[in-house]
């Protein structure tokens, strides 16, 4: 059984004891433990249940590739599912619980699936559950969904915070093992700006566990010396607990720093996401040991050989008292030595190779360990823990030669370089048949924006699996035991029966077995991508780190082709999962998106206004009084504006200054109207189309002076329209002398609207606002209440109306003065909804209501605003296309229900019959519809085929189970002659 050894443990501090719980059971560990080490030290071998068969599972690995030992960490809002215990640093008070089991880890009902395993081969679900859609959707699928998934998400919002940061460097080194440290040192000494990132909390990678001498020093001493020098270099930055998650376009790097996962509640951000711009990235991410496929290779206690020695050397944890080693290579013998050094027993090393004569095997043999050559494991004995192994000839079919009792199996099928980072942006690999691994092909690197390489590989990530090779690559010397070649053995025994293949696991988390890959091959899912998707091999949360190459090899074997002919699946970021919290960073809650505020925003908020999002603003929708409904507030605001006076914060209107000798000519191209002839001192309503002919914006254009115009745009439209203008100016008419400036934020704008509007302005005092001095569609500059203003006589409501522009920093002051002056005249503020209703009463169109990107001005009765004199404007050619000039286009009309009710906004008018696709024919739709408190009935606008010629016709608008009948009328419902605005 697994336990803590009395001595040793290079990473733990035995003076600092920590307590934690697993499934509620109190346990103890040491500072420096991973949760995996502490669990194992506490004798907890069974840690989880597999995805499909709910088979009992324990630790396979000691690092990022762990597929089995995933737990729920924390509780309530801090609960986090699917956390790898191997990547979790132990802290005091840690709470972990097992996943995907019910009612308990030891007794899991779901394990019934394992008994029925023959009914659940790869892709079984594609072949059944097809009785009916209802049965699938209501019965089978819900059961599958409940059974699937692993951990449980928190039910509350995440209380922790996350950060994002940028970093720039010449060289980014990913991985702080010997190769990475050496690369960082070499680049650092050369004066390069270097960042070295290490995923774990420790430097040095595998070397301290695997042994040898580097430049005559032990790995620990060499690492200490190297780190010491690196820390003296100001141009080198060392970052622990920081994983290079992925390489992206043009070599940009995303890295993931787990700042405070191990110190929860200390006030620091939990994770920090780094966006790094390196000149080049050196991948020093090491290699991952491969399991071997044999029956029962997933029984808790069967572990990777390297993990077994990691637990012994790093954390002084023995995974078992009697450890059988099974391998196809020499490296695994290091595990046998580590086990022996810890005073534990190695009943045998089972080696698939026939003539084992390497130095490491001989050292093991010299210590009295049996080496069983040409042997394999027929099957592992035990269910929730290893009790022994049945040994067979590797060349045979699995006939048992002998049985050895043991409580741990350390397996090694060789190593695969961690080439992920090299491959994310398309670096190519080549297959090394001798070493049986894919290594980066340095002649086909990922390339960046100049076409040059953006990545390099060193160390094990470059396919160099021995310390001497790694040292030599870095220009150092090393002494280490030489290793004999491995045998490319993927499955034990070579001729394993089907019964064995059905219990030989490749992808542990997803329960993909050798038999599944072979089934996929037999059924024609022969592309590696098909096999992956059909069997789910490599699709678990470890993304196939320990299973992909084995699966490839089995598939290649089944297809009778070589591994490079089969090829790999695509490596996609991230290397290991990263939190969405880190990806979102600080941009949450109030910081999710910036809010624009007008100069009067504080005032609106103080009124308890009801708002609606408009662009990035929050505009007042209405200002309800206590106890008043929104609807009633809107009606009150309208009636008051039409009878007394209302005031509107119009600051959000876009304001673009267009200036220069060619400004008039330019605006004639931008607008459908003629703007060059607008007299100084006058305003004109203008329409803007896109080059595709559709109406895109409207607003009042003001001629400020001989060479300057001020163009008002819709709220939220200013940036878009300004960009549109600049596009044409810079890219098409670059020789025209025109300058534009977006002044939207420079001015606050206040609309004073209603029969008593003039009285309010007169009360403010300072300029002549009479009809004679400031006629309708004119403007003037002056002062009001002592503030410098520009006043436009324009109206979007049909009432006497002044829009007052004032420098934004005086907006609040002027607003207060207007409010104060208006009191005597019964003035009330009104919001966007009252604005909408009043414009609809007047039959004025609204961009976004009457237009939807498919409407041209000609559809809206706006022909008067399209200059016939101009040869060209943006959109003119498009409006000449056959469909745009067709006689039956839907055109703007007013609509009035026969009973005065309000037509449903967006409803369609039906026509006779059905079209060829069986859809009801239509003849028009409602584009705007409101209750008009002015007219005390519903009013609407709509688009109807050839509508203006059909006045008086009654159309039917079904809406749910109701049918509305409405008459086609003129779209202007109020003051058709326009007398009220021009007073």
């Amino acid at each position: 059984m697994s336990t803590r050894l009395a001595t040793g443990g290079r990473l733990i501090d035995r003076s600092k004891s920590l307590t934690f719980t697993f499934d509620g059971k109190p346990m103890r560990g040491f500072q420096g433990d991973t949760l995996a080490a502490a669990l194992l030290a506490g004798g907890q071998v069974l840690l989880g249940r597999s995805f499909k068969y709910h088979r009992p599972r324990g630790l396979l690995a000691s690092g990022a590739e762990e597929p089995n030992a995933l737990v729920n960490l924390g509780r309530n809002a801090r609960q986090e599912p699917d956390q790898r215990v191997t990547m979790t640093e132990l802290f005091d008070g840690l709470e972990a619980s097992s996943q995907n089991r019910w009612p308990s880890l030891a007794f899991d009902i779901g394990a019934i699936n394992d008994k029925l395993y023959k009914m659940f081969p790869a892709g079984f679900y594609y072949k059944t559950f097809m009785i009916s859609l209802g049965a699938w959707a209501k019965v089978f699928e819900p059961v599958i969904r409940r059974a699937a998934g692993l951990g449980n998400a928190a039910k509350e919002a995440d209380p922790d915070r996350y950060e994002q940061a940028y970093a720039f460097c010449d060289v980014l080194v990913a991985g702080g093992g010997v190769a990475g440290l050496a690369a960082a040192l070499s680049e650092g000494r050369a004066g390069k700006r270097v960042i070295l990132m290490e995923m774990t909390a420790h430097w040095g990678g595998r070397a301290p566990v695997d042994g040898g001498l580097i430049d005559g020093l032990s790995p620990d001493d060499w690492i200490a010396k190297t780190l010491a020098e690196l820390r003296t270099l100001p141009n080198v930055r060392l970052m622990e607990r920081t994983m290079v998650a992925g390489m992206h376009l043009h070599g940009s790097i995303i890295a993931y720093e787990r700042v405070a996962d191990h110190t929860p509640g200390d006030g620091r951000p939990r994770h920090r996401l780094w966006r790094v711009r390196p000149g080049i990235t050196i991948n020093a991410a090491g290699a991952t040991e491969r399991p071997l496929a044999f029956a029962g290779n997933d029984v808790p206690g069967v572990m990777l050989a390297s993990a077994v020695r990691d637990y012994i050397v790093n954390w002084a944890v023995s995974p078992g008292d009697r450890v059988v080693v099974v391998a196809n290579n020499d490296d695994a013998y290091r595990t046998a030595l580590a086990v022996l050094d810890a005073g534990l027993s190695v009943p045998a090393v089972i080696d698939a190779r026939d003539n084992v004569t390497g130095v490491l095997p001989m050292q093991v043999k010299a210590r009295g360990v049996r080496i069983l050559e040409g042997r394999g494991i027929a099957r592992v004995l035990g269910r929730t823990g290893v009790t022994g192994v049945a040994i067979c000839a590797q060349a045979g079919e699995g006939g048992v030669i002998e049985t050895l009792p043991c409580d741990c199996v350390a397996m090694s099928g060789g190593w695969s370089p961690n080439v992920h980072l090299w491959s994310h942006v398309g670096g190519k690999l080549s297959w090394d048949a001798d070493a049986a691994l894919f290594r980066p092909d340095a002649t086909r690197p990922p390339t960046g924006r100049d076409g040059g390489p953006i990545a390099a590989s060193v160390g094990a990530a470059n396919g160099l699996l021995t310390l001497d090779a790694i040292a030599a690559e870095a220009g150092m010397s090393a002494e280490v035991e030489p290793e004999a070649p491995l045998a490319p053995v993927w499955i034990m025994p070579a001729g394993a029966t089907q019964a064995l293949r059905y219990k030989s696991f490749l992808d542990f988390q997803n329960d993909v077995k050798v038999s599944d890959v072979e089934l996929a091959a037999r059924e024609g899912y022969t592309s590696v991508e098909h096999t992956k998707r059909y069997t789910t091999l490599g699709m678990a949360s470890d993304q196939g780190k320990s299973s992909n190459i084995n699966g490839l090899a089995i598939l290649s074997d089944a297809l009778g082709q070589t591994i490079p002919e089969t090829g790999t699946t695509t490596f996609r970021p991230p290397y290991n999962p990263i939190s969405f919290g880190a990806m979102a960073g600080e941009a949450r809650g109030e910081l999710f998106q910036p809010r624009r505020r007008t100069a009067m925003q504080d005032w609106h908020e103080a009124q308890h206004y009801h708002w609606e999002p408009v662009g990035f603003w929050r505009r007042p929708y209405c200002y309800p009084k206590a106890g008043e409904s929104h609807r009633d507030a809107v009606n009150r605001e309208i009636v008051n504006t039409r009878t007394n006076v209302g005031v509107l914060d119009a600051s959000t209107l876009g304001k673009i200054l267009v200036k220069g000798p060619d400004a008039g000519k330019f605006l004639d191209m931008m607008y459908t109207n003629m703007m060059s002839t607008l007299p100084v001192g006058k305003c004109r309503y203008g329409l803007m189309c896109n080059e595709n002919g559709f109406l895109s914006d409207d607003g009042v254009v003001v001629r400020l002076s001989e060479d300057s115009w001020l163009c008002h745009t819709t709220s939220g439209g200013a940036d878009r329209i300004h960009a549109h203008m600049e596009d044409w100016l810079q890219c098409e008419w670059w020789d025209w002398k025109v300058w534009t400036a977006n002044l939207t934020e420079q001015y606050a704008q206040i609309a004073v609207v209603g029969p008593k509007a003039r009285k309010v302005l007169e009360a403010l005092g300072g300029m002549d606002v009479s009809k004679a001095a400031l006629p309708f569609m004119g403007w003037a500059e002056g002062t009001l209440a002592g503030l410098p203003v520009r006043v436009y006589r324009i109206s979007f409501s049909g009432e006497l109306s002044y829009e007052i522009a004032v420098p934004a920093n005086m907006g609040a002051a002027l607003w207060d003065k207007v409010i104060a002056a208006g009191k005597a005249f019964g003035m009330m503020p009104y919001g966007t909804e009252a604005l909408h209703v009043m414009r609809a009463e007047k039959g004025f169109i609204m961009i976004g209501d009457e237009t939807d990107g498919t409407v041209i001005p000609q559809d809206l009765g706006l022909g008067w605003a399209i200059s016939k004199k101009k040869a060209d404007y943006i959109g003119k050619r498009a409006q000449q296309r056959s469909f745009m000039v067709a006689p039956d286009r839907w055109q703007l009309v007013g609509l009035e229900t026969l009973d005065g009710s309000v037509l449903p906004d967006g409803a369609y008018a039906t026509a006779e019959g059905f079209n060829a696709n069986g859809q009801r024919n239509t003849q028009g739709r409602v584009t705007s519809s409101y209750y008009s408190p002015t007219l005390k009935k519903g009013i609407a606008m709509g688009l109807v085929p050839n509508g203006p010629a059909r006045m008086g016709e009654v159309l039917e608008f079904p809406a749910g189970d109701k049918l509305f009948r409405a008459r086609i009328v003129d779209p202007c419902f109020y003051d058709k002659e326009g007398e009220k605005s021009d007073v």
């Binding site: 924006r449 076409g451 810079q730 098409e732 040869a871 060209d872």
Partner: protein, 107 residues
Amino acid sequence: MQIIPCPYCGVEAEETELTYGHEAHLKRVGPDSDAADFEAYMFTRKNPKGVHFERWRHSNGCGKWFLAARHTVTLEVFGTYPAQTTEPPAELVEKIKAKCPEWKGWK
């Protein structure tokens, strides 16, 4: 994230600073032109799997539109130049020819 140098201000701009403007060197077709010509101008695109001449605006920077030659598979940026031109600079064309012998030219 891609980086495209702005030929005006010299900034090595990340995509977040830029707005993409699609195919470059389109010739505007105005009123009364042929319907097919107008359709081609508005909609028909080269969309090459290879070297693409395209428009970018340094919208969160100097505000200038510029043109770029970029490879749509490797995403290599061969060069950028001001928008106020009807054809790419000769030396850029030569550079691309040298790097991509299979390239059929920008037209």
